[in-house]
């Protein structure tokens, strides 16, 4: 004779995060990355030393300065510059494969407004670089 009884299962713990962590560990293991990471962690002092050997404050400051310069770029200007560089690369490749031009031919190029615009831009850029170097304390 079995009298009917009730039972309420306890609320299960939320294991979603640990499940996901287990999955990540399994994936890292299967890919071999876990072994690589383990090696990296175990050799951490040596790796850090090696890194410091090639990195100094000057390098870091240079990277930061260059990054800052890139952030200030106007994308439209940059795109025009990039397009110009792309074309320059193509035209230069063509010019290299052609017979070398004589002094007169080179001089005649100065009549071409695009050539003059390019030289102006290059000289202006060089002047700006030079000015910046001069201003450096």
């Amino acid at each position: 004779m079995a009298r009917p009884l009730g039972y309420l299962p306890p609320t299960p713990p939320d294991t979603a995060a640990t499940d996901e962590l287990d999955d990540l560990v399994a994936a890292l293991h299967e890919s071999g990355l876990l072994r690589a990471l383990t090696g990296g962690v175990r050799s951490y002092p040596q790796l850090l030393g090696t890194l410091l050997d090639v990195l100094d404050a000057r390098t870091v400051r240079s990277v930061v300065a260059l990054t800052t310069a890139l952030r200030d770029l106007d994308p439209d200007q940059a795109e025009r510059l990039a397009t110009g560089l792309r074309r320059a690369r193509e035209d230069a490749a063509t010019a290299v494969e052609s017979k070398a031009e004589g002094p007169l031919a080179l001089f005649r190029r100065m009549r071409d407004p695009d050539t003059r615009r390019g030289i102006s831009a290059a000289l202006a850029a060089l002047a700006a670089v030079g000015g910046a170097m001069r201003d450096r304390p």
């Binding site: 079995a2 979603a16 499940d19």
Partner: protein, 1036 residues
């Protein structure tokens, strides 16, 4: 609805079954020329399929709106090619020998046209694939525009003036991502045929509309999920996917928006190529962290198969595939969205043993030891037949085989049965009598092919929704005639060409009268009767009482109606008959099933495509459960226990000292009687909610209290668990391997999609554990070993192997050793020694539990779309319960007015609480007024398991199936219920308002039409055929 528009006529002419169609002509390969190179194509198929690999999916050639299950929609223009100098859509150009395609076109116009089409697609859709939940590496839209060589946006995205629709429980629609391809509309209108979705092409800003323009969650949408499944992008997304599918798709909006804006600003410089690459990388990483597993639905007997996408235990979505043999792209709300039970908080995770007045959590070792010790004790004291084993129609075929093996080999009894006793046994009996096999005589595709389908006592739209969709599609697109006989004017009845409302329990009368009329009028298939059928003379003589006039008198259906029906059925080229619980759960269930089969024989409707008998099986594996031997009178494959040779074969295979006795054991109902009589002492129940689903629940519960020992394996602490001594926590269908057999005898593999919840085990391991402790070491390590053992012992399954069921492959029994299966039975002969079908004489008996002055209302009961059986799974789904939160007592306004009685304030209203009392017991529920139920009758959905407090012990004498549908009751007003006593249920007593929310789909207003009406798009003033650019500001 019959349209004579040329495009609509074409659509009808192209009709073909969507489910696997063995009767289809084999594909004929032809060679077409693509840019001068020979390419193999399938004759008559859209030539686009030959340009893409796999067919219909873009890879190197764009295809966006085309879907192989939907056909050419022609809305996206992305597949334009040139044929004979003319631009044509390759999705609407059909392959024929010698067809020559030029994909570049004159002056490159075809390629330009495709690129222009792609530009228009991204005009309507923001490409942020890397942080899009749809970016699974196979996004149709992304691949489509990529293969159209879209590199830079020329038009740019033009937002629509609509907010995302988040009103639906299961999916979200984002108009701003919608490309207006119309796949969802086509699927809703002409595959599902609920006809909710449309696109108003006359709108200034077209979008997909629900019921012409209401929120999706308040429309006639039945949440079948077709629209979401076929959406080629992220416009329609499962709620479970949103923010969950991708590696970075859970970014908050304040991060997401700027990120998208930044990428859009970069795109004019970079073009799309690096973005395509980036999203491909993300998709690769995402899918590496996502599992895709093919499984089979755990709900009804249609046998839908689909991929389930999971990440650990998280279920991301259900994605049906065209290859699914039963369902293709189709699902119902339960199969697509109803999986919350798998991760429900109240899953059992420890075995429980009864310890005084409580259940104590314990180890598997102790629990199985207790089971073995108690069962052995009963056998030693009272004999093997003092124990019964009840299998589960939810379990796999292999588990069914092991259930009966435990009963027969280990315990030594034929007392083993399953829930088909409650539902399908009468249909099986009717078919055994007349044609030989107890299963559907054809496939779902035969139902699609039939000229006329008779549906008797089947609420197909709610109980077998995907089959209902197939039938509605055949009716809409192919002129299939529907004859529906039912007590209720349910969805299929509302759409029927002929609706019959017989008096309760009188189907046999009108069926026999129609059969007699066919014979008397000379409309029978005389050749078929002469060559393939025996017993005509006796049968004809038995029909003498069934005149049309008698039928009219007894059933209430006019004699002229029945005569016209007889003519219609006799004239139809091919007739298939479906029936379900409205026939079988009667005291004449077997005889009425027989009457249906008799009518099919008289009219020659067996053994040809589009014909046959289809008793629609209710549970996912109720067919397989009996097929594999969990039945008291047969070993697996319907090998009789009374056959000495069979008994010898199994005794030898199972190393029994001697063959088992040649006498059937007790069935479910008999076991309960035997407990009351004191001869049955112990019961093993595999996942069956017997205390609620057997008729006369109080009688069953009293029996369970009297048992010496009861062990139950279950996912949850079910009502039956209350009576158990040991409870063993089992797994869901997503947590195990195995096979299911659907209603069309189709065996399909389900594959484990996730590990079992810690502490739980699949039933095949549980059964093996019990057997081992009782001295029988089975040693199975995987269900495939069980399949091999079955094949060696069972001619019907001789060719069934695990490997032959790989992927979406399936086999329909009987399966020969070489793997040849049988999609259509009886093509050559019937399953009797002489090969002839047998007409079976019948005699009508009056139904039991008739109405009288004290119990004046007839009570009908059954399922609703959102819930399955007693609701142990589906009531744990928040979304399903939001649509259908509770049971109810549905009645007509006239019944409500007449039977309101004292306290009903002049008649019952929707929302009033009532008590329904039968001669056995009562239940309380709210009233729902509707026109679906006839006067003097009420309908009570069974999802809370309460109905069997009312049902009786009366059974069909031929099958011992309870007469659930023969039930009289009285009704009275009450104040309302107490607490819902069933833990874990989401149902909460709600004392006010309608039992169905106002947003329920039955209150929606569908907008029927054929397809997406692309002609209306083409007629828009802002549409130009590519490569011509659309005028500025175009929105379609």
């Amino acid at each position: 609805m019959t349209s004579t528009e040329p495009a609509d006529v074409d659509r009808r002419a192209a009709f073909r079954p969507l489910s696997e169609d063995a009767a289809a002509d084999p594909p004929r390969e032809v060679t077409v020329s693509v840019d001068g190179k020979p390419v193999t194509a399938v004759e008559g198929r859209p030539v686009l399929e030959a340009l893409t690999t796999p067919p219909g999916e873009p890879d190197t050639f764009p295809s966006v709106c085309y879907h192989p299950a939907l056909g050419p929609l022609q809305t996206c223009d992305a597949c334009l090619v040139e044929v004979d100098g003319e631009l044509v859509r390759s999705c609407a150009t059909y392959a024929e020998e010698g067809l020559a395609l030029d994909t570049e076109g004159t002056g490159g116009q075809a390629a330009s046209a495709r690129e222009e089409a792609a530009q228009r697609l991204v005009r309507k859709h923001v490409l942020y694939c890397t942080i899009c939940d749809h970016n699974d590496g196979a996004c149709t839209l992304k691949k489509g525009i990529e293969s159209a060589n879209l590199e830079f946006e020329r038009i740019g995205h033009q937002p629509k003036p609509y907010e995302p629709d988040v009103s639906h429980a299961f999916y979200r629609y984002d108009p701003d991502q919608c490309i207006l391809c119309g796949r969802c509309v086509e699927a809703c209108q002409d595959v599902q045929v609920t006809e909710t979705l449309s696109i108003d092409w006359s709108s200034d800003d077209p979008r997909v509309l629900w019921d012409g323009g209401v929120p999706a969650g308040e429309s006639s949408c039945v949440s079948c999920g077709h629209c979401v499944t076929v959406c080629p992008c992220n416009a329609l997304m499962e709620v479970t996917m949103l923010g969950r599918a991708g590696l970075m798709t859970d970014w908050p909006e304040q991060t997401r928006e700027p990120a998208i804006a930044m990428v859009k600003d970069v795109e004019p410089t970079t073009g799309y190529e690096p973005l395509y690459l980036l999203s491909d990388l993300e998709a690769t990483a995402r899918m590496a962290a996502t599992d895709t597993t093919k499984t089979v639905c755990t709900y009804c007997g249609v046998g839908c198969s689909f991929d389930v996408l999971t990440r650990g235990r998280e279920i991301l979505k259900i994605q049906p595939q065209v290859e699914g043999p039963a369902n293709s792209i189709s699902t119902c709300v339960k199969g697509k969205f109803g999986w919350d039970h798998v991760n429900a908080d109240d899953r059992l995770t420890h075995p429980l043993v009864r310890d005084g007045d409580r259940f104590r959590e314990t180890t598997w070792e102790e629990a199985l030891d207790v089971v073995a010790r108690r069962l052995r004790g009963i056998v030693d004291e009272h004999g093997s037949d003092a124990i019964g084993v009840i299998g589960s129609s939810k379990a796999t075929n292999e588990e069914s085989y092991l259930t009966q093996k435990l009963a027969r080999q280990v315990i030594g009894t034929h007392n083993v049965d399953n829930c088909s006793r409650y539902c399908q046994a009468p249909a099986t009996q009717g078919l055994w009598r007349t044609v030989g096999y107890g299963g559907d005589s054809g496939s779902i595709s035969d139902l699609e092919r039939a000229s006329l389908v008779i549906m008797v006592g089947t609420n197909t739209a709610d109980s077998h929704p995907v089959i209902a969709s197939r039938l509605r599609r055949a009716q809409k697109l192919n002129g299939q005639v529907h004859v529906v006989a039912d007590l209720r004017r349910h969805t299929m009845a509302q759409r029927a060409d002929h609706f019959l409302k017989p008096a309760p329990g009188t189907d046999l009368v009108w069926l026999s009268a129609v059969a007699r009329c066919v014979l008397d009028e000379g409309w029978a298939d005389e050749a078929f009767l002469k060559e393939r059928v025996s017993g005509l003379d006796d049968y004809r003589a038995s029909l003498a009482p069934y005149t049309l006039e008698y039928a009219e008198e007894r059933t209430g259906i006019a004699a002229d109606t029945l005569r016209d029906l007889a003519r219609t059925i006799a004239d139809a080229d091919s007739v298939a008959a479906c029936w379900a619980m409205g026939v079988t759960q009667h005291s004449m269930g077997s005889d009425t099933s027989t009457a249906i089969s008799n009518l099919l024989l008289v009219t020659g409707n067996y053994g040809r495509p589009g014909t046959g008998a289809y008793p629609l099986r209710g549970h996912n594996n109720v067919q397989g459960c009996s097929d594999y031997g969990t039945i008291n009178s047969f070993y697996p494959g319907y090998q009789p226990v009374t056959d000495a040779d069979v008994a010898q074969k199994f005794a030898q295979a199972w190393s029994l000292p001697e063959p088992m006795k040649l006498e059937a054991g007790l069935d479910n109902h008999g076991m309960i009687d035997a407990v009351h009589e004191g001869s049955l002492k112990g019961l093993v129940v595999v996942g069956e909610e017997i205390s609620l689903v057997d008729a006369n629940a109080a009688y069953v519960q009293e029996a369970l209290e009297q048992l010496d020992f009861l062990v139950v394996s279950e996912l949850f602490f079910s009502h039956t668990c209350r009576y158990a001594d040991v409870i063993l926590p089992a797994v869901s269908s997503l947590e195990k391997d195995g096979t299911f057999t659907n209603t069309e005898r189709r065996i399909q593999r389900l594959n484990q999609a996730m590990d079992p919840l810690p502490g739980t085990r699949p039933d095949w391991q549980i059964l093996q554990g019990i057997a081992e402790r009782l001295g029988h070491v089975w040693g199975y390590t995987h269900p495939r070993q069980v399949i091999d053992e079955i094949a060696g012992l069972t001619p019907m399954f001789a060719g069934v192997t695990w490997d032959r069921l790989e992927g979406y492959d399936s086999l329909q029994w009987p399966v020969a050793e070489d793997g040849t299966d049988t999609p259509l039975l009886y093509e050559e002969s019937f399953h009797f020694d002489d090969g002839l079908a047998r007409l079976h004489p019948l005699e009508f008996r009056e139904p039991t539990d008739a109405v009288d002055d004290e119990y004046p209302l007839h009570v009908n009961n059954g399922r609703v779309l959102e819930h399955f059986h007693e609701g142990n799974f589906t009531m744990r789904s928040e979304g399903l319960s939001r649509i259908a939160p509770d049971t109810y007592v549905e009645m007509s306004p006239r019944t409500a007015a007449e039977y309101g009685g004292p306290g009903s304030r002049g008649g019952l209203r929707t929302g009033d609480w009532v008590r329904l009392t039968s001669r056995r017991g009562s239940l309380e529920a709210r009233v729902l007024l509707s026109d679906e139920v006839a006067d003097g009758e009420v309908y009570v959905p069974m999802q809370t398991g309460a109905i069997n407090r009312l049902t009786s012990n009366e059974t069909d004498p031929d099958s011992h199936t309870p007469a659930y549908k023969e039930l009289a009751a009285r009704i009275e007003c009450v104040d309302g219920p107490g607490e819902d006593e069933r833990p874990g249920r989401r149902r909460k007593p709600d004392r006010d308002g309608s039992p169905l929310p106002r947003h329920h789909h039955r209150y929606g207003s569908p907008t029927p039409q054929l397809g997406v009406r692309v002609e209306e798009k083409w007629a828009r003033p802002d549409y130009r055929t590519p490569p011509q650019p659309d005028p500025e500001g175009a929105t379609s």
